[in-house]
């Protein structure tokens, strides 16, 4: 009941609190410069409160919060006239010293001697002039109270029932004084708060200053946790990790509590971090509540998402260009070529290859394309439509073209005989897989079967493009951490791509990545198909299966670099060469890798 009262208090005072805060910040602006200087000199003062004109040391923060809490408790429970003397009679000597005047308020409460309120503007420092201006206002006492209670509401309305002790490694989190006591009170609190807490979060998280103060306070035995906004990002990451840990340990209640906390913290962030955190929080929630996403979505929808992803950032273009370069080199002398594409989608890779073949010295070879795709729910022949478009293009540029489409739920269902492979003397075969092989790792034996099928096709070259990350470890927390870092980099690169924020392309690209995140985090077993592995892991796998690497040439590297220069906008993208494979990354983090392979026992070399 007390909690409810606090919420109401917070809710009503929020409006006025923010009003006065806004006022104080506008009044304070001319002095802000001086304020900042002094704050920096003073050292150890909380910056956000300093903007408002309060000087509170970091070290005192917990103490001040506790005092405010006590004050608020009294105010909440006392009769109206019981505390009116606080508004008139208490002397505040240094209004910017929040700790000091709360203390004086408290001593007044305990010791209700009538003292004349004399708004002495204490020190000569200009900090006080901000509050001085406010204090001179006839309605000053009201405002002070409102300020106090709004501060308090900030302290209280934040997720206070969550057990933040579980978050590892956060320096601001003091150890709780009495564990058993807190736990029992917490449990009581949790059941009573229910959904009303969320409205409180809404108000405090949308506060103008965006201060992410979280207090876990009821009795004095409960730990008080305070942070300032700069640490919110760190706090966010730690909360995500803690939630993942809780999920791994099957402590779902704790995980549930933490997930909500993540949502709150994410709201105080901006840009890429907020989006990543939101997607991860959603995925964790799905895992906790076992609401698994439907994977049987319309494949054309995923195609559309991938198209937007193709437009927004250079990853797919890089993949296509580098793979095509390897294929072109392998096809240098062939008169008849056959490409098997494990994931045809919209066929965006092939126009460039056809064009390059058309301009080959001596003329183009006969080009045959076999495209493989997932079965369509509405029985429409999407593959055939793509094939038809490619045929039109081929006709335009004068390349002899043949197309076949195959629907397969999984690549492991394919048999080489189905694909009408012609002998290598007649036709050179290339197999191309862009972000397809990792799905096979969900099914035991899947990848081995596919690799042996590929060998049976006797390809001149096999091009593989995969995400450069290990999202297939045995432990959930490790996968989670890896994924968090990986997708943070990806989202960062999307932000830096120079596309205007409300663009549809950007939103759809984020959605495309979000679905991957959901799969990595929320799904298990056969459903978890986004089982990314690193280049090193793939290398081992390919070499064990009987393939030997083909080095990508320097022209592939050059074309990739130029592509980035033309399209990337941001300078964060980097092309790296890694033992004959090319990797595209954002700043120092490689994100996708292209590699090329041939059968290990080739008689004629290339």
């Amino acid at each position: 009941m007390k909690r409810e009262h606090e919420e109401i208090c917070g809710a009503t005072s929020y409006g006025s609190g923010s009003g006065s805060k806004a006022e104080s910040s506008t009044i304070g602006n001319p002095n802000k410069g001086k304020l900042w200087e002094e704050e920096q000199d003073a050292g150890g003062m909380d910056e956000l409160l300093a903007v408002l004109g309060y000087k509170v040391r970091y070290s005192d923060m917990a103490d001040v919060a506790q005092k405010l809490e006590q004050l608020e408790m009294v105010m909440g429970t006392a009769q109206e006239d019981g505390i009116s003397h606080l508004s008139c009679d208490t002397i505040h000597y240094n209004p910017s010293d929040l700790s000091g005047w709360v203390q004086s308020m408290l001593t007044e409460l305990n010791n209700p001697a009538a003292v004349n309120l004399d708004p002495v503007l204490g020190n000569s420092n200009s900090n006080s002039s901000i509050l001085g201006q406010i204090n001179h206002d006839p309605s000053k006492p009201q405002r002070q109270q409102q300020l106090v209670s709004s501060n308090q509401s900030q302290v209280y309305n934040d997720d206070s029932e969550y057990d933040l002790r579980a978050i590892p490694g956060v320096a601001a989190n003091p150890p709780p004084k009495s564990e058993s006591d807190s736990e029992s009170t917490r449990k009581r609190m949790k059941t009573s708060i229910g959904s009303s807490g969320s409205t409180g979060y809404g108000s405090s998280s949308s506060s103008p200053q965006g201060i992410g103060v979280s207090g876990a306070v009821t009795e004095s035995t409960r730990p008080v946790v305070l942070i300032d906004s700069q640490e919110t990002g760190v706090r966010l990451v730690h909360t995500l990790m803690a939630c993942a840990e809780a999920v791994q340990q099957d402590n779902l209640k704790l995980a549930d509590a933490l997930v909500k906390h993540i949502g709150l913290l994410a709201a105080s962030q901006a840009g890429a971090m907020r989006k990543v955190a939101t997607y991860f929080a959603e995925a964790l929630a799905r895992r906790i509540y076992r609401i698994y996403p439907q994977d049987s979505l319309d494949p054309s929808y995923t195609d559309i998402l991938q198209m937007h992803f193709y437009e927004t950032c250079p990853y797919l273009k890089f993949a296509h260009f580098t793979a095509n370069q390897a294929i072109l080199e392998a096809f240098a002398t062939a008169n008849s070529v056959h490409v098997i594409d494990f994931g045809l989608k919209q066929g965006m890779q092939w126009p460039a290859l056809m064009q390059a073949l058309a301009l080959r010295p001596g003329g183009p070879p006969a080009f045959r394309l076999t495209g493989i795709g997932p079965p369509q729910p509405d029985n429409s022949d999407a593959l055939q439509q793509v094939g038809w478009k490619l045929a039109q293009l081929a006709d335009t540029i004068g390349v002899e073209f043949e197309f076949r489409g195959f629907f397969a739920t999984s690549l492991a269902d394919l048999e080489p005989e189905m694909l009408e492979i012609r002998p290598p003397e007649v036709e050179a075969v290339a197999v191309n897989s862009v972000f397809e092989l990792h799905r096979l790792l969900a099914r035991p034996g899947g990848i081995e079967k596919v690799l042996s099928s590929i060998k049976a096709m006797k390809p001149k070259i096999l091009t593989v493009v995969e995400q450069e990350a290990n999202h297939n470890g045995p432990f959930f927390v490790d996968r989670f951490t890896e994924a968090l870092h990986y997708y943070s980099s990806l989202f960062d690169s999307l932000e830096g791509s120079g596309v205007a924020p409300p663009s549809q392309d950007l939103v759809m690209s984020e959605l495309y990545l979000g679905r991957q995140i959901c799969n990595v985090v929320a799904c298990e077993g056969m459903d978890r198909i986004e089982r990314h592995e690193t280049l090193t892991q793939w290398r081992t796998r390919m070499e064990t299966a009987g393939f030997s690497p083909v080095h990508l040439g320097s022209n592939a590297y050059k074309q990739a670099s130029m592509l980035l220069a033309l399209f990337a906008g941001g300078d964060g993208y980097r092309v790296e060469e890694n033992n004959g494979c090319l990797m595209l990354g954002w700043h120092t983090r490689p994100l996708i890798a292209t590699s090329a392979w041939q059968l290990a026992t080739t008689e004629s070399g290339k």
């Binding site: 054309s300 198209m307 260009f321 965006m348 301009l359 080959r360 010295p361 335009t396 004068g398 022209n555």
Partner: protein, 162 residues
């Protein structure tokens, strides 16, 4: 058999008279180059001048748009990519033409900021605002690929929902 005899009394005679008058007017001033002569002159200019020329008048625009001129602009300074002229034409023209190839891909690639953004930068001249002298093999291949992708994307995407 000359048809421009002014005394010729046929229904189209009035129109003929008008045309002759217009031509006479055009012959005044600097615009006295006829199409063929203009074409010959434009064969020798650089890309920037050619583009500016197309802004002068309708006749100039008509002439400056000629694919053969832009083909010269493109191929004059690019590395030999091994294919014949006819082969190149048969690919580039249907995919959008040389003018498009140049303005969309070759020109942006040759701009200083594009060159400096990539780490290896063989094209690194920054002399005034002149474009660099050459496009290497890789640049050419890249641009041709991008042209083909653009053409493909513009084809009717019946399968792509909005």
């Amino acid at each position: 058999m000359k048809r421009s005899a002014p005394d010729y009394q046929v229904p189209g005679a009035d129109q003929k008279m008008k045309k002759l008058k217009e031509e006479a007017q055009e012959e005044r001033g600097l615009m006295n180059l006829d199409e063929n002569l203009l074409y010959e002159v434009l064969k020798h200019v650089d890309a920037r001048t050619l583009a500016m020329a197309s802004c002068v008048s309708r006749l100039w625009r008509q002439t400056a748009k000629d694919e053969r001129l832009w083909e010269l602009i493109c191929t004059r300074h690019w590395a030999n990519i091994g294919c014949g002229t006819q082969q190149l034409r048969s690919v580039v023209l249907p995919l959008g033409g040389f003018r498009r190839l140049h303005s969309l891909y070759l020109w942006p690639l040759s701009k200083p900021q594009a060159a400096s953004a990539s780490s290896w930068a063989p094209i690194s001249r920054m002399i005034n605002s002149k474009p660099p002298a050459r496009w290497g093999k890789d640049e050419v291949h890249l641009c041709l690929s991008l042209l083909s992708i653009q053409y493909y994307e513009k084809m009717n995407f019946t399968n792509r929902g909005k």
